[in-house]
């Protein structure tokens, strides 16, 4: 056993630097994997716990105060499945709020902070010591993105009147949470609330919050009831949908990190497999001696794989321990996007899973790599026959076309097959990861419109709510590209459920085509159906569906399916003529305006408001809002891309370090011979780099081809998880090519730096050693 220990020690010492490199790669993957598992395992649970603790409604409806009656509340109480009901009065308005340094029109419900509430309670996250009666308690999400401090004033303008509030504190609630649910709630002190209400009586609303056992069924039942009562629901939602909306980006983030960590883990396993195989070849004589002395194959295998298992175990434990400091970074990023405050806690399950995955896979890979020892013939090993039996002289110099440098590169390439295979696999993965990050960066940071088109619905430059028709006049304004009647406030009743319905005069010139299968409606009898409705009722293109209104039934033929992330695929699309079948009196009141230069949207709206003071009931600077929204995603994606790029470069460096060190060590004598016969360092370095170049180029090109064909599907899978079926991303080949070239160049530079070790090989040591 002493000899085994000595072998183990020698093996460890000799391969220390490589084992450290392997450990660093494993360390990175452990931290990422543990963090993503902790987030993945707990976010849902933590969300549900907080949802329950704050007694958040399972479903809720916001309606105009004018349509509310106590009788209505009583009737809802009696609907099957409803356990508890509470009403809260509020003020519903679209107000421009400073978000990410831009004024962003947001749908806000202002509630009275001092009202007693049993349902939809909130946590006071921070409280200002200098609070006053004219104060506001901001939603955490608004606070994060507004850039305000507790000492600042929260200001907005509504109906030409400026409002300014002292920030009394920051709250977190689970009903709205962030902007993904299209509405955000802010809480005013009693005085502030009453003053705002005084000036905006027509905006007073009532939110009916419901606790139930089965939220979706009850949500549908109440929706049916309100639809039957002709109540115009301004906003409604149920808990599962709200959660999906809030955590959409967080889920994408977790998906990316998990996939990335598994990829890094794969690289570390490939590296360990390679090193173990290499080490066996280097130590083959010793192993032959051990076998000849009577040690069993298992004892020898054990001595080889132990350093990797021990280091794997140590690194996993350290990585898991340090992930405690990394996971909060992820939760902070998630908080920024979702507004959901969550402090990751000790999660034994995630830690054990990571440890089990790491050790289990290292063990399996090590055993597979070390199985050669079982077949080892001790005498052949001692004589050195085992390693030399299959050496073939590839690319005979006198028969191969090209100069000696080129032929030696070819020989090097073929003689470093194992290294090249490992490098090829790693480079292939790295090309895929980099392209993924590149495409994400391109579509979110450089062309945010693609990302917005994927996640939101129609987005004009500006929205004008008209009281009398001014479409033709607006069309004649400078900078106006197009004006379309587009209405997103209508609701259709299908199968006793009411669904948000977009009504547009045309779907041809819109900024965002939501249709992912078939077509948008064109004629009065055509309808397009949201993805969720399609799945729920198993609908097909060509089917006819019955829409009910006031006891009448109207038939439409399905011509296509459309996506909607914000409404979870529960939408319909109709033309104006199509809607007029239901309501012949219908006249569109909303104009979607598309400008040549969206940066001038604010000026444009000021002019319109000035010119048509009486004909306009409201405007929305949509371009500005989209600009702010995309800024949030830009910073998030930038962080992801930077992390991916840094880890990718570290990975390339470590893998190349292991490969090049292993080659230089293995070929030390050979390099000494080359030097003895007159080869210069630069020639040997060129040979070494040249030997790797084909596999780097081939695998990068294969990675580019793979990306060109499949990366679309990867994004489809990711975005489908949040309900986006039609990804508006572009996948320009130039991005793949640019990244491919960057990878090849950076790999070559790293190879060049690492190959400098060749210079240290002294010719004389060849003889002396």
């Amino acid at each position: 056993m002493n000899r085994i220990l000595t072998l183990q020690k020698n093996f460890f010492k000799k391969n220390l630097k490589d084992i450290i490199s392997f450990s660093i790669i494993l360390f990175i993957s452990t931290i990422l994997l543990t963090s993503s598992l902790v987030v993945n395992n707990n976010i849902d649970n933590e969300y549900n716990i907080k949802h329950q603790r704050l007694n958040t409604a399972n479903s809720f409806y916001t309606i105009s105060k004018l349509q509310y009656s106590d009788n209505l509340l009583e009737n809802i109480k009696n609907i099957k499945g409803v356990n508890e009901v509470e009403k809260q009065e509020g003020i519903f308005a679209t107000v421009p709020i400073m978000m990410e340094d831009n004024l962003q029109d947001q749908n806000v419900i202002f509630y009275n902070y001092e009202n007693i509430r049993k349902i939809n309670k909130f946590d006071l996250v921070q409280e200002n010591e200098n609070k006053n009666n004219n104060g506001i308690y901001l939603a955490n999400y608004t606070y994060i993105h507004s850039g305000l401090n507790l000492d600042d004033k929260f200001e907005f303008e509504l109906n030409s009147k400026k409002y300014s509030y002292n920030i009394n504190g920051i709250i977190e609630e689970m009903q709205y949470g962030n902007y993904n649910s299209s509405i955000i709630a802010e809480y005013l002190s009693n005085q502030g609330y009453n003053e705002l209400l005084e000036n905006n009586k027509e905006k007073e609303v009532v939110t009916i919050s419901i606790k139930s056992d089965n939220s979706y069924d009850t949500y549908n039942e109440v929706s049916k009831y309100l639809s039957k009562e002709n109540i115009n629901v301004l906003n409604k939602n149920y808990d599962e949908q709200s959660k999906t909306q809030r955590l959409a980006i967080a889920n994408i983030l977790v998906f990316i990190i998990t996939a990335f960590s598994l990829l890094v883990l794969t690289v570390s396993l490939l590296v360990s497999k390679f090193k173990i195989t290499e080490s066996i070849e280097e130590e083959i004589t010793n192993m032959g001696v051990l076998k000849a002395l009577g040690y069993t194959s298992n004892e020898i295998i054990f001595s080889i794989i132990m350093p990797y298992l021990i280091m794997g175990g140590i690194v996993s434990v350290i990585g898991i321990a340090l992930s405690v400091y990394v996971t909060p970074i992820f939760s902070k990023v998630i908080e920024m996007q979702s507004g959901f405050i969550w402090n990751p806690t000790f999660d034994l399950k995630s830690y054990l899973i990571t440890l089990l995955i790491n050790l289990g896979l290292i063990f399996i890979f090590s055993i597979l790599s070390a199985k050669k020892i079982k077949k080892l013939n001790p005498i052949n090993a001692i004589r050195g026959i085992e390693n030399n039996k299959n050496i073939k002289n590839y690319f005979e110099i006198d028969k191969t076309v090209g100069n000696i440098g080129f032929i030696l590169v070819l020989k090097n390439f073929i003689n470093s097959r194992k290294q090249n295979i490992l490098l090829g696999i790693v480079m292939f993965f790295i090309t895929i990861i980099s392209s993924f990050a590149g495409i994400l960066y391109y579509n979110v940071n450089l062309n945010p419109i693609n990302f917005i088109n994927t996640l939101v619905e129609e987005h004009p430059s500006a929205i004008i709510k008209q009281t009398s028709d001014i479409k033709e006049e607006i069309k004649n304004y400078n900078n106006v590209k197009n004006v379309i009647y587009y209405d997103d406030t209508q609701v259709l009743n299908y199968k006793d459920n009411s669904f948000k319905t977009f009504v547009s005069e045309t779907y041809k010139n819109l900024s965002n085509d939501l249709c992912y299968e078939g077509n948008n409606p064109n004629g009065a009898d055509e309808i397009s159906v949201g993805s969720r409705i399609k799945e729920k009722y198993n609908l097909k293109i060509g089917d006819y569906i019955d829409i009910k209104k006031d006891g009448n039934t109207y038939k439409y033929q399905i011509v296509g399916f459309v996506q909607s992330v914000n409404y979870s695929g529960e939408i319909f699309e109709l033309t104006i003529d199509g809607y007029k079948k239901i309501d012949s009196e219908y006249e569109p009141k909303v104009l979607y305006v598309y400008l040549e230069n969206e940066e001038l949207s604010s000026n444009f709206l000021d002019t319109v408001k000035h010119d048509f003071e009486r004909e306009i009931s409201g405007t929305v600077d949509y371009a500005e809002s989209m600009n702010s929204a995309s800024t949030m995603y830009v910073s998030l994606v930038s962080v992801i891309c930077i992390v991916i790029i840094i880890i990718t470069v570290v990975l390339i460096y470590l893998v190349l370090y292991i490969l090049i060190s292993s080659i230089i060590l293995k070929r030390k004598q050979e390099l000494g011979i080359y030097k003895a016969i007159g080869y210069e360092n630069k020639q040997l370095i060129t040979q070494l780099i040249g030997g790797f170049l084909p596999s780097v180029i081939i695998s990068t090109v294969l990675g580019i081809i793979f990306n060109k064909i499949y990366i679309k599907n990867v994004f489809n899978i990711i975005f489908k998880t949040v309900g986006a079926y039609r990804i508006s991303f572009n996948y320009p080949i130039v991005i793949f090519t640019f990244l491919g070239l960057a990878i090849i160049i950076s790999t070559t530079i790293i190879e060049l730096l690492l190959s400098n070790k060749i210079k240290k090989i002294s010719v004389y040591s060849l003889i002396k050693d």
Partner: protein
Amino acid sequence: MNKIISAKNLVKTFSNNGITQTIIDNLDLEIYENDFTIIMGSSGAGKSTLMYSLSGMDMPTSGSIEFCKEDITKMNADKLAIFRRKNCGFVFQQIYMLDKMSLLDNTLTAGLLVNKNKKDVIKRAKELFKKVNLPETTIRKNVNQVSGGEAQRAGIVRAVINKPVCLFADEPTGTLNSENTKAVLDVFTDLNNDGQSIIMVTHDKKSAIRGNRIIYLKDGKICGELRLDKYEKESEERNAKLDKFLKDMGW
């Protein structure tokens, strides 16, 4: 006689655990064209160190070495590599062939470094292989597929492919049996007779007898030198001269 190498005040020391050991001690030596110079001496006398210093394979601690009128002690590693490829050929005891290549490729790898004309180099290599009695089938084999003698003869071919000014051989027959030793030594003799200058380190009398100049080293200094005629065949007189010289040197 033309001088090809001239070493002056050559010193080579090694430090190990703070203890400095002088291997070559203020040595002066000149090597002449067309000579078959043998360096002999007891173990640790500095034979190999001297030879590798003269060839630019190792750097002396101090002193100068003029090789083909160039001071090689002032050259950097890459300049030395270029110098070596043109002017030096090496034959090692352990043969040191590139093991993933055939004997022919080993030779061409060295030859094509100097002469870019592939046809010429292949032609010369094949002539040399013929000269050392290695047939086409053997030269296409890898080093692990041939005998030690065959490998060493191929090593000599590789060493002389670029027509070096001087061929350096470090105990080239040290690992060979008597039959292979004779074959290898015959190749050296033939090369020398064709005008190739050779420096050979050996402690084998059978090898030493092939030289026409025998230098004996002791404690890093030349303590004796024997001049003989060019080797044609073994003779008792030649053997006796060498025996006496070695006896005088305390061998």
